[in-house]
């Protein structure tokens, strides 16, 4: 079987990378940056905390697994049968790490030398699970500590409380690491079952950027990728109503000024449409209450927000929300003013000059997002694995967005009947 090689180019930026469909089923993304010293590689699977219900062609019914298992599996994969992966990286000089998010688990390394050796380590250990009762029991202690640390972090609490307000059933509302109770249900057999389902090369991607050569990378892949049968994975999510779960949630913790997060729930989007909607939502967040907007100035001058105010779009398989977060002594007043401003924009339209300025700022942000091997590798990886688009899709989509597009989507993205606020206030 021949190798399918594509060059993905951005005329606008004068940048390009290679996309290879490997016979093993793996998508390999390679960005040669010969003028840099660093190398950054990510190898991972489209498997995160939200994938708790699934089946393969060998299963009759859907299987449900405990919350936090994707993250648990990530921790455990670092242990080989005979040694720890960090010890192997220590010899090549690479710095290894991994992360689990809502919809992905990624294993990565960065280095400036011996990248070929480090790449072999990465491909080998991710394809060689080793779980025993002893190692699983020990990890429960370590992850238990991690969960406690998250519970002590008010920024994280305010965010997850918001997701629990916005979503009725979707598992995005669950903490990525699970709970001390849910991880207690994890055992070696369950880990193997999840591993064999999701860690299939057809459900994975490898992205590498920096001072590397395509041929060298492919030669290592040919040698180290293990071809396995495609299990024909199907993941399922519970039905999610359009309405929010509840409009407000308040938690008390030791904090200074109260924290808040205000979210607008929307129907989810896929592929290129998701890229476009994420950009449109980001532009709208800025038009409504970004640091260049009229409302931001008013709230700031009235002391209702401070400069720790930011906006973000949180989207993935089956979920999409536009979020304003910050610190305020009166979060409810901020909430009301944002709702009013949205209605005003829907009635009066958007400020054309501000729209152009925000578009330019977004363009600058995307360019700054390509200034290191790490950022380039991450962009290729996430675009391909999570959304199924090329890395330059966002910059192309941004160039096409018009004022009319923004007006057309405001009703879907910012519906005042599908919004919620989460507040963390002080108990000291």
């Amino acid at each position: 079987m021949g190798i399918e090689k594509q060059t993905i180019k951005s005329e606008r930026l004068g940048e390009s990378y290679y996309k290879i469909k490997h016979p093993s089923g793996l998508n390999i993304l390679v960005w040669e940056m010969p003028e840099f010293s660093s190398i950054y590689a990510l190898f991972g699977t489209k498997y995160g905390s939200i994938n708790t219900k699934f089946k393969t062609k060998n299963d009759k019914d859907f299987i449900e697994v405990p919350e936090g298992i994707a993250h648990f599996l990530e921790h455990k994969l670092f242990e080989n049968e005979d040694c720890d992966v960090f010890e192997l990286y220590a010899k090549t000089g690479a710095s290894g790490n991994a992360y689990t998010s809502f919809d992905q688990t990624a294993y990565l390394f960065s280095c400036t030398e011996n990248y070929k050796e480090s790449l072999k380590i990465l491909l080998d250990f991710v394809q060689a699970p080793y779980f025993t009762k002893e190692t699983v029991d020990k990890e429960q202690g370590i992850i238990g500590q991690e969960i406690r640390m998250c519970e002590d972090t008010p920024y994280r609490q305010v965010f997850f409380n918001l997701l629990r307000c916005l979503y009725v059933n979707h598992p995005v509302k669950i903490e990525i690491a699970g709970t001390v109770e849910s991880i207690a249900k994890i055992d070696a057999a369950l880990l193997y079952s999840c591993y064999n389902t999701f860690y299939n090369l057809n459900n994975m991607a490898l992205a590498i950027a920096g001072n590397i050569k395509l041929d060298e990378v492919l030669a290592i892949c040919d040698e180290h990728l293990k071809v396995k049968e495609n299990p024909e994975l199907v993941t399922a999510f519970p039905d999610e109503p359009k309405e929010v779960n509840k409009e407000i949630f308040v938690q008390e913790m030791p904090v200074g000024i109260p924290l808040f997060a205000i979210g607008y729930k929307s129907v989810p989007f896929d592929g290129k449409e998701r890229v476009k909607k994420e950009l449109e939502a980001s532009i709208l967040l800025n038009l409504i209450c970004g640091s260049t907007s009229k409302l931001y100035k008013e709230l700031y001058d009235e002391g209702l927000i401070n400069s720790n105010f930011y906006t973000e779009v949180d989207s993935g398989d089956g979920f999409f929300a536009s979020i304003f977060s910050g610190e305020s002594k009166s979060p409810q007043k901020v909430f009301k003013r944002i709702k009013d401003e949205i209605e005003r924009i829907k009635k009066d339209g958007i400020d054309s000059d501000l729209f152009e300025i925000i578009k330019k700022a977004e363009y600058g942000k995307l360019i700054s997002g390509l200034n290191s091997a790490e950022k380039c590798a991450t962009l290729m990886f996430e675009s391909d694995l999570l959304i199924g688009v090329d890395a330059f899709e966002n910059i192309e989509a941004l160039a096409q967005i018009t004022e009319k597009d923004i007006l057309d989507c405001i009703d879907i993205l910012f519906d005042n009947s599908k919004t919620a606020i989460s507040i963390v206030k002080s108990n000291i």
Binding site: F86, Q140, G144, P154, I257, T292, K297
Partner: protein, 426 residues
């Protein structure tokens, strides 16, 4: 290496360092006002740089300024404060994408530089002082930020520990000052401190990135050359005296996971020797602390050592279950003892060298990383020492040097932030 630096003295105590490589797609102009401070100065200078960051005489409100920067392809002006030994550096900087990305051939970098320089030299004044109402908002925001430091438990525990570690030393002055002092500073006083900061601080400017900086450097020099100066020079490196009896601080908080910060002090002044020791001891995933305290014994979620070499201090910070505090502490000292006895392999030493050399080589891939590197070397350590020079130095460090470093540390402070023990996850 393709990167090169050019350093020039503008006038008494003011230096500009330029780092340029076409591979970078963003530019950063960083200006640091560096001074030995007490609580009053720390509070005032932090407040002043925050006021300067938000407006200037041309763009008189935060929104106007932000809008203009957004128009320049999402450029930004940022402010921060950090420690350099016994001094604090008050940073004001601008970043933007390189001019080659402009869609209509606009001049980006020089326009952004002009805005930053106007923020510093031509602030928005009313009746000869800062705009009072803006000033009050920014002051309140800084006070809120100080009160909010508790939100980050790990950082807060380190801050609190440092206050005890550097008792009665300038290095113990909190970053951003204190709420008590800030509450008393009025607009006129802040304006006086602003003038003082420009007149007496050491000023270190860096211009780094992928642009063509001839004009940018000229612009910057022309504004700083005319500055009226009475430069007060400061020493950066001074070893912190170790306490006769180690201090123990235990604060109770409503937290699920306790934090422990241990500080040890040394009389060794060699930053590379100390850093390499610390990497082997608790700075890498293959280090003694990570492998034993976390991985083998599951006593902590994190347990890492760091060196403040200007002060001869090592900090070991950890997040632990309340019931494990004593065991974790015992194990940390046991591992330090192992290092002092030379119980480490040549592989461990070589692996730490490989890791540190790798990260030094990657400095050349980050314009702002290089700017920080050269600031530390030229200003704090007063040496023309490139990342490549550092690589050579690390390679020459021997096993005996590591043992010597391990033996030299004496316990100074143990700070514990503890919660109620609600039972562990064991």
């Amino acid at each position: 290496m393709s990167n090169s630096k050019i350093r020039e003295k503008i006038t008494d105590g003011i230096y500009i360092t330029t780092i340029n490589d076409k591979k970078f797609n963003v530019n950063t102009i960083g200006i640091r006002f560096i001074s030995k401070v007490d609580e009053k100065k720390a509070s005032a200078y932090s407040l002043v740089t925050r006021v300067l960051q938000t407006s200037n005489s041309k763009y008189t409100t935060r929104t106007m300024l932000t809008k203009e920067l957004a128009r320049l392809y999402g450029a930004g002006i940022s402010q921060s404060v950090f420690r350099l030994g016994d001094c604090q550096a008050f940073y004001l900087g601008a970043n933007c994408v390189c001019d080659r990305y402009a869609l209509d051939n606009e001049e980006i970098t020089n326009s952004v530089t002009e805005i930053l320089l106007d923020c510093i030299f031509s602030p928005n004044l009313v009746n000869g002082v800062f705009n009072e109402s803006d000033f009050e908002i920014i002051k309140q925001e800084l006070i809120d930020n100080i009160n909010n430091k508790i939100n980050d438990k790990r950082g807060y525990a380190i801050d609190k520990a440092l206050e005890t570690v550097f008792q009665n030393e300038p290095a113990g002055v909190p970053l951003d000052g204190t709420v008590e002092v800030l509450e008393k500073i009025n607009c006129a006083e802040a304006f006086k401190e602003y003038k003082e900061m420009l007149r007496t601080s050491r000023i270190e400017i860096t211009v780094s990135g992928g642009g063509d900086f001839n004009e940018t450097v000229k612009l910057i020099k022309s504004r700083f050359e005319g500055l009226e100066r009475e430069f007060i020079s400061s020493e950066f490196v001074s070893l912190s005296p170790v306490k006769e009896k180690a201090a123990e601080v235990d604060e109770k908080f409503d937290v699920l996971q306790s934090k422990m910060v241990i500080a040890c002090k040394t009389d060794i002044k060699d930053p590379e020797q100390l850093k390499l020791f610390s990497l082997m001891f608790g700075g890498l995933p293959s280090s003694k602390l990570f492998m034993n305290v976390r991985e083998k014994l599951s006593l902590c979620y994190y347990c890492a050592s760091n060196i403040i070499s200007e002060k001869g201090v090592m900090l070991i910070d950890s997040g632990v279950e309340n019931s494990n505090i004593k065991n974790a502490k015992d194990e940390i000292f046991k591992q330090l003892d192992e290092m002092a006895k030379g119980s480490f392999s040549d592989d461990e030493l070589n692996n730490a060298k490989t890791a540190v050399c790798g990260s030094l080589r990657s400095y050349n891939d980050s314009a702002s990383g290089l700017a920080t590197w050269w600031l530390t070397q030229l200003c704090v350590w007063n040496r023309d020492f490139s990342p490549e020079d550092a690589i050579e130095k690390y390679k020459s460090i021997k096993r005996e040097d590591i043992i010597e470093a391990a033996k030299s540390f004496k316990l100074d402070t143990v700070y514990i932030m503890s919660g109620d023990d609600k039972g562990g996850a064991e």
